[in-house]
């Protein structure tokens, strides 16, 4: 992408046992201001292959001198988060996309309730300064495991006072999501960023309580996880593309010079959707609805894979 921005890693710090924070500074021009909840796609120039992962910006959106991101070392990483943790040093240069936003607060909400799971606290770090500027009514509920995550908990607690609630499952404190949602006044919007299990638990509680789906917002970038190798066949040309265990389908297509429009590369934005005419799909994205997943004729190649040995794509 020609509109990428070159940045320099100005500092790195460990903000939780498995989370590192990177401060990125502009090299040429000033950086764009951004909107709360925005992310950038960071390109990691690894020797064997280039990783591209989306990370939420956690600095104050009005700061155009630097961006901050936080990267959690993933248990099932194919290399992206390992690369960020082990290879990237202060003074290195990286390419990032301009900020995009798929998880913006809805400013007409009467109240904002944010639910963060682990490193999922990051987009809310950019919500909070703007919420305070606008004098919005909000609460942050932060769930983490202090042996692994829990970045920024002290500064958030200090800054937010009685708007801050934390739950450390390594110390057996848990959030009763149903009770939390049932207390909220009409007009409250709920934002969830964290593991799929948290998103599902909140969505189920909301459904049970009769809250409309339109007030529940979530974002989880799924860095593509490895799987079994398979073959993707291109219907229009008959071309066979081998997808290795470590590569995503999107990466394998790109390596074969088949370009697919894409933005977040994390199963959220919906840009890379492809039609499948044959083969079972292992859906791993946040974008397609349950009905679309069950229909089995569309795939998000950035994160999802074949459930079997072969997929035929209508491209």
């Amino acid at each position: 992408m020609s509109n990428q921005i070159k940045v320099e890693v100005a500092s790195i710090c460990q903000v939780a046992p498995t989370i590192r924070e990177f401060t990125l500074e502009a090299i040429d021009d000033a950086l764009y201001p951004f909107s709360p909840g925005a992310h950038v796609v960071v390109e990691m120039p690894n020797k064997k292959k280039v990783y591209k992962n989306a990370y939420s910006l956690l600095s104050d959106p009005t700061d155009t001198q630097r961006y901050r991101i936080a990267v959690r070392l993933q248990d099932a990483s194919r290399g992206g988060s390992i690369y960020m943790h082990e290879q990237v040093k202060v003074g290195d240069q990286l390419l990032i996309s301009p900020p995009s936003n798929l998880f913006s607060p809805l400013w007409h909400a009467k109240k904002h309730v944010m639910l963060a799971g682990g490193v999922g606290v990051t987009p809310f770090m950019s919500y909070i300064p703007e919420m305070i500027r606008r004098d919005a009514d909000f609460e942050l509920h932060y769930m983490y495991r202090s042996l692994q995550t829990g970045a920024y908990k002290h500064e958030l607690s200090e800054q937010l006072g009685d708007k801050y609630f934390d739950y450390d499952s390594d110390r057996q404190t848990r959030c009763d999501v149903t009770a939390l949602l049932s207390q909220q006044p009409l007009g409250t919007h709920i934002y969830i960023c964290g593991p799929d299990s948290l998103i599902q638990a909140v969505e189920e509680a909301a459904q049970t309580l009769g809250l409309p789906a339109s007030v529940i917002h979530s974002e989880e970038f799924a860095a593509p996880k490895p799987g079994m190798p398979f073959v993707a066949e291109i219907k229009s040309t008959g071309q066979q593309v081998d997808v290795s265990a470590e590569d995503s389908l999107l990466e394998a297509l790109e390596a074969s010079d088949i370009s697919i429009p894409n933005l977040c590369r994390g199963g959220v934005c919906g840009q890379c959707v492809c039609t499948v005419v044959e083969g079972e799909i292992d859906h791993r994205d946040q974008y397609l609805s349950d009905e679309e997943k069950a229909a089995g004729n569309t795939i998000m190649p950035c994160v999802s894979r074949a459930a079997g040995e072969r997929l035929v794509l209508d491209i």
């Binding site: 764009y32 301009p98 913006s104 339109s214 933005l263 840009q271």
Partner: protein
């Protein structure tokens, strides 16, 4: 060469508006082929056509600048609700002000100057004799709302679309020269709602594709498209609010006056992602040219004839051309030897 702003001409009453030969030459002619085809025709809004072209800069300031700013003031004095911003669009309005001021100061440094010292901004517009210092983000330090303040200094209409739930909502704007639509009526509508009246395109999935494309637009990569209609007399404000003033003029077209009375009205529509608010700015920059002036370019006249001749009936109706479309086709036929 670049066209400098000339003195004020009118878009109403005595209609003194006119295009210089240079303005005719740089007119953004909208028809890329001989037959009419429905298309979204979007392209990156990057410079093309070289110095003086309507596509040279992000914003096009041309010889009609003072006339259009005077016309806008007349409209707003009479109907202040032609400029509106819902409460949650405040930051988007500042985004717009920043984008317009920085690009004007960069591209037209003879006319505009912006000095930024922290959040203290000083803005100078030499064409309109404006010189103000204000605090960025604090509306109380400007003489008007940020949207009205900057909107009254730039040619074109402006809409700010809030993005939420994967859709776009028309929640702010300044619309004083619309091609028969009303901001007050459309305010708060979603993308598909405000496009509801457009014929033919709904079945072809055009709006789904356009919405998907627009919601994914990134900061720093604006796009443009041209849209067109015909207008009787050089009237900028063809709004539903003033229909009683211009609707009847459609009956005044005759085979004798069609060349001077009917204008091709082209909108250069620019869409740009706003960084601070994630809103989408939608600029509708309107150009008017009489058929007579257009016909000074034989290739344009020939192509326009073929396009008008093949225009589908639902579009003739939607664009409000029914009463005089055949006169336009007959007039243009003289420039098309193969007709």
């Amino acid at each position: 060469m670049r066209v400098a702003p000339k003195e004020v001409e009118t878009f109403r009453d005595d209609f003194t508006y006119s295009n210089s030969p240079e303005a005719i030459k740089r007119f953004p002619f909208p028809f890329p082929e001989d037959e009419y085809r429905y298309s979204v025709n979007m392209e990156p809004h990057t410079p093309k056509g070289g110095e003086g072209s309507a596509y040279e800069h992000f914003l096009d300031i041309d010889e009609h600048y003072l006339s259009e700013m005077a016309e806008r003031k007349l409209v707003l004095d009479e109907m202040p609700h032609r400029c509106l911003a819902m409460e949650h669009m405040e930051l988007a309005c500042w985004d717009m002000l920043e984008r317009l001021m920085t690009s004007l100061a960069q591209d037209y440094s003879d006319y505009f100057k912006l000095t930024i010292e922290g959040d203290q901004w000083t803005w100078e517009n030499k064409l309109l004799n404006i010189h103000d210092t204000f605090t960025f983000g604090d509306s109380s330090t400007l003489p008007q709302s940020p949207l009205e303040y900057i909107g009254c200094q730039v040619q074109g209409d402006f809409a700010l679309l809030d993005q939420r739930d994967g859709d776009l909502f028309l929640d702010a704007g300044m619309i004083t020269c619309p091609a028969d639509w009303s901001l007050a009526f459309d305010a708060g509508m979603s993308f598909k709602e405000w496009h509801g009246p457009v014929p033919m395109a709904h079945n072809e999935g055009i709006f789904e594709r356009a919405l998907k494309y627009l919601t994914a637009m990134q900061v720093g990569s604006p796009i443009r498209r041209l849209n067109w209609t015909l207008t009787v007399n050089a009237r900028m404000d063809t709004s539903p609010e003033t229909y009683h003033e211009w609707g009847h003029e459609r009956t005044s077209v005759t085979p004798e006056n069609v060349g001077e009375k009917v204008y091709l009205r082209v909108e250069m529509q620019v869409m740009d992602r706003m960084p601070r608010s994630n809103a989408l700015m939608f600029i509708i920059r309107t150009y008017l040219i009489s058929l007579e002036d257009l016909a000074t370019n034989p290739e344009w006249a020939r192509r326009m004839h073929r396009t008008m001749k093949t225009l589908p009936a639902p579009l003739i109706e939607y664009k409000g051309l029914s009463r005089y479309h055949s006169m336009v086709v007959d007039y243009l036929a003289q420039f098309d030897p193969a007709n």
